[in-house]
């Protein structure tokens, strides 16, 4: 009975959890509500993933309306891993938030903070679950509005600026997206993904479609911080509360990437050329730019949170590069990196959050030798850093391996070489962190750092452990990612003339 409603429950659970948390107005109660809601969501997402893996795509009609008029939720091999990832990272971030909010958020706002986290989760899950283009816009805005609030709750006054900037940019992105959806609707008469794809071949003039594609892709690119539209991200990640940064870095951009993949593969067709260049080539060029330019920028950062934020921009470049390679290995690599990067970046931001809470700074030059006083947090940061480089034995290696494999299979050896070469830049920025935190004589702040409670570090350690586990035994994530890749590539044929 409940099982049949899982596709909508996975969105409603955090949504109503958020409302409850807001109504409770009590910090402790809000946390438990958030925890229960997020765990229930995770269970629902896991059950959904199991059903999809066993029995193929699930379609759910809200209120029983026909998809042509009503809203259809559709869970398939592409969205299932995303749901699972977002729900899991939600639990981790909420567990982490319990201790971190006591330092970072003034007590009157803690309940609101959990509310916003849950609503953000609901929005993100909705984007992944819904099969209706306009419904996705609504969820996009739900998640965005709560994200702006989360960022604005940061301690530093610059958080306000970052939130405002993200609000403007995010709204432009969402509006671009909805303009594109409007154009799609004008040409096909439907908002349902499945029906859009069905009716595409009947369209005689592709002009409106091309405009729709441009609007939708640029709109989503703003949300996923595709270079050069990434400029809102570093400040947003740097000044948001630690748990919010961990949540956003590991989920928000990933869902946007999912959406991009959906549109490019299922609707528009990634290999189609627009004018003189194909979409894949353009995406590939921007991805490469992101990998190199953002990594280069990361090298010059002093604030570790900002450094990791720039690294995120670069890593998103790897993911979009995998999509642009557009063969099975490449897309598998992209989806693997969506998951692996979420885990490693989550661990990294949580670890630096713990250090920030305990030592009062996230500046590299003030954290010399922090490894001696906070070995556990610094260890987790180290594991995450090694995974960012792609050291064998960490999950980062596995995803880069598939990307390189995809590039070679596509007959683009130079691309494989560039992927490896860009890892060198990661060696430089991660190496800088490692050298400072482990090998320098402890600075004053490092010596004064207080021990952090285990409940703060527990989710960090779990994520770091998973990063290593998936590096050694990659079976489970690879299975998820490759079935997603197969599903995406399977429907990409004959999308547009």
């Amino acid at each position: 009975m409940i099982a049949a409603h899982l596709p909508v429950l996975v969105v409603l659970l955090p949504l109503f959890g958020g409302l409850l948390a807001a109504l409770s107005r009590h910090n402790e109660a809000a946390f438990w509500i958030a925890l229960v809601a997020s765990i229930a969501t995770l269970a629902a997402a896991a059950a959904l993933a199991g059903q999809v893996m066993a029995g193929g795509p699930i379609s759910y009609r809200i209120g029983g309306w026909d998809p042509a008029l009503g809203i259809e939720y559709r869970i398939d091999a592409v969205s299932a891993p995303i749901l699972l990832l977002v729900a899991a990272m939600g639990v981790a971030a909420i567990v982490y938030a319990r201790r971190s909010v006591t330092v970072e958020i003034i007590p009157e706002r803690v309940a609101w903070y959990y509310t916003m986290m849950l609503i953000c989760l609901a929005g993100l899950l909705g984007m992944a679950a819904s099969g209706d283009a306009f419904n996705i816009f609504v969820f996009l805005e739900i998640s965005s509005l709560s994200t702006y609030t989360l960022i604005a709750l940061g301690r530093d006054r610059r958080a306000l600026l970052a939130a405002y900037q993200y609000l403007i940019v995010g709204t432009i992105g969402a509006t671009f997206y909805v303009i594109g959806v409007g154009l799609l609707y004008l040409s096909t008469g439907t908002l349902n993904f499945g029906l859009i794809v069905e009716r595409l071949p009947e369209i005689t003039s592709p002009r409106a479609l091309i405009a729709a594609e441009a609007f939708i892709v640029v709109g989503i690119a703003l949300k996923l911080a595709l270079f050069p539209l990434h400029a809102w991200l570093p400040n947003a990640y740097a000044y948001a509360p630690s748990s919010a940064t961990a949540l956003l870095a590991s989920t928000a951009t990933k869902v946007a990437v999912y959406l991009l993949a959906r549109y490019l593969f299922a609707v528009f067709g990634i290999q189609r050329s627009v004018g003189p260049i194909s979409v894949a080539d353009a995406l590939m060029a921007l991805s490469l730019l992101a990998m190199f330019a953002a990594s280069l920028a990361a090298i010059f950062q002093n604030d570790i949170k900002r450094l990791l934020a720039f690294s995120s921009v670069a890593q998103i470049g790897y993911i979009t590069l995998g999509l642009a390679i557009a063969n099975e290995a490449g897309v598998t690599g992209a989806f693997l990196h969506i998951m692996n990067h979420a885990l490693m970046k989550g661990a990294a931001f949580m670890a630096i959050g713990a250090i920030l809470i305990s030592a009062g700074s996230s500046k590299l030059d003030e954290l010399a030798g922090i490894g001696r006083t906070m070995p556990v947090a610094a260890g987790a940061l180290t594991v995450a850093g090694l995974a960012l480089i792609g050291v064998p034995g960490t999950s980062g290696f596995v995803s880069k391996w598939y990307l390189v494999l995809g590039a070679i299979e596509a007959g683009r050896l130079w691309l494989a070489i560039l992927i490896v070469a860009s890892s060198v830049l990661a060696v430089l920025y991660v190496g800088r962190i490692l050298e400072v935190i482990w090998f320098r004589e402890p600075a004053k702040r490092s010596l004064e750092a207080q021990a952090v409670p285990l409940s703060l570090l527990a989710p960090t350690l779990v994520l770091a452990a998973l990063t290593i586990w998936f590096g050694l035994d990659a079976g489970f994530p690879v299975e998820l990612a490759s079935s997603a890749a197969k599903a995406l590539l399977g429907v990409s044929k004959g999308a547009l003339p």
Binding site: P234, I277, P392, V404, A416
Partner: protein, 560 residues
Amino acid sequence: MTDALAAMSPAYPLIVGSLAVLLFRRGVVQDALALLAPLAALALVWLVPEGTSVPLQWLGLQLHPVASDWLARLFGTAFALAAAAGVLFALDRRSTMERAAALLYAGAAMGVAFAGDLATLFVYWELMAIGSTLVVLAGGASQAALRYALMHVFGGILFFAGLGIVAAEPGGLALRVFQAGSPGSWLLLAGILVNAGAPPVSAWVADAYPRASWSGAVFLSAFTTKAAVYVLIRLFPGEAVLVPIGLFMAIYALVYALIENDIRRMLSYSIVGQVGFMLVAVGIGSEHALAAAAAHAFVHILYKSLLMMAAGAILRATGEIRLSALGGLAKLMPVTAAAMVVGGFSLAAVPFTAGFVSKSAIMAALADDHAALAWFLLTAVSAGSFLYAGLRLPFFALVNGKAPDTVAPLPVSMKLAMLVMAAFNLAIGFSPALLARLAPPIGAVKVLSADHILFQLQLIVAAGICFGVLLKLLAPKSRITIDFDWLWRELPAAVLGRLIRARKQLQGFFEPVLTTARSGIGERFPVWAVRLLEAGNWRTGDIALAATALLGLALLVAAV
């Protein structure tokens, strides 16, 4: 028992040791761990049964993390000995980072020696680059470490590119003999040669190693280049192009060693030269020649570690490493002096040292193959080697000149390390059978025969007379000579400088035009470039503009 052992790479104890060292504070426990790790690795080198381990399935690849045969054991033994002696020598050095890095470096080299497939090999290869860079960095020279890292990244990329191509061949990732013909094998060969210090990148050796600490250079001298020789023996035996490359390296290094003033730079050049000997033997490619190359690598690790230790000891005791500023140390530092003489003589293949045994094996292999040019050139280089290693270095450091008033006392550990290494050098020199047991194919050469010894004695005495006559010319002088590193250290700056000058001239010409253009929109562009790379805060409007521009561009392109 043996099954479990078969999956144990001798690299593991060293890598585990490297991590374990990080966990403990400086002290007895850390010292013991650091010493124990190479000894455990040495034991494993001989305990791991010969043959290839059970394949490991990973990401759809068949990996063989451990494969053992006499060649792997020979190099494994050398690496373990060098690591053990190096740790002993460095026992007194207060740098946990260097210690951990050195063990990691040694472990990676060991992993290369026992790798059973190309992918495993590549992973250890890169690990070796990381470990060695950290060792250089621990010496405090970050600029040199960066150059060193970039050079190895360059080599690593070449290697990886080659790997990517050859992996698609029917042989897959299996270790096999390549012919330098296809692009894949050329890239592979080029990547290995970068690590071997071949031209045109030979200068990285002498650029980086002398900037390590007094103990770091001991580790550096042992692993990277010899691991490259090992991989060449495995993958490119009999590759004809190696012969001229090796000959060039031998002569190039001799020329620079003869005029070098910094002892450790001289020894670094000498590494390149000796690797040149090995490359020539690998290029000849007969079974005998390959074994001789391997044996020479083994012996080279023994005497070059010894020499680097002596140089390190001098640097530590006097704070000085330039020959022109040293002198008369023989009385003040007898153990170091003895080590330097034994090491130098071994390098110059004086009879009854280890170097004589292995170099004789190489020369015999060349003679068997009737490689006349190589034989005559290398014989000449041998005579020249005695000039700098057997005479110039000890004479100006230990005998000639004014001795300093006092030198800092050396800890027992350092002396012990030098004595152990010197003993190894002499033991093999007096009993070549020891070496023949490690490298069976060279057992056939009778090394200590009267005509061999006589030949070599004449060669070195004649070189000695030359040294005696031309002593003044060879006196150490502080000078800087152009080397290959001009290519990557000076050329770009020179070209850039010229470009900048050219730009200035052009600017003078176009300035009026530019000013008018700049007052318009032109001024925005530099700002954009800076913002893209740097983290300067963007205005919200700029982000929106970027998005709009991208959209406009997409629409424009689509409309075309």
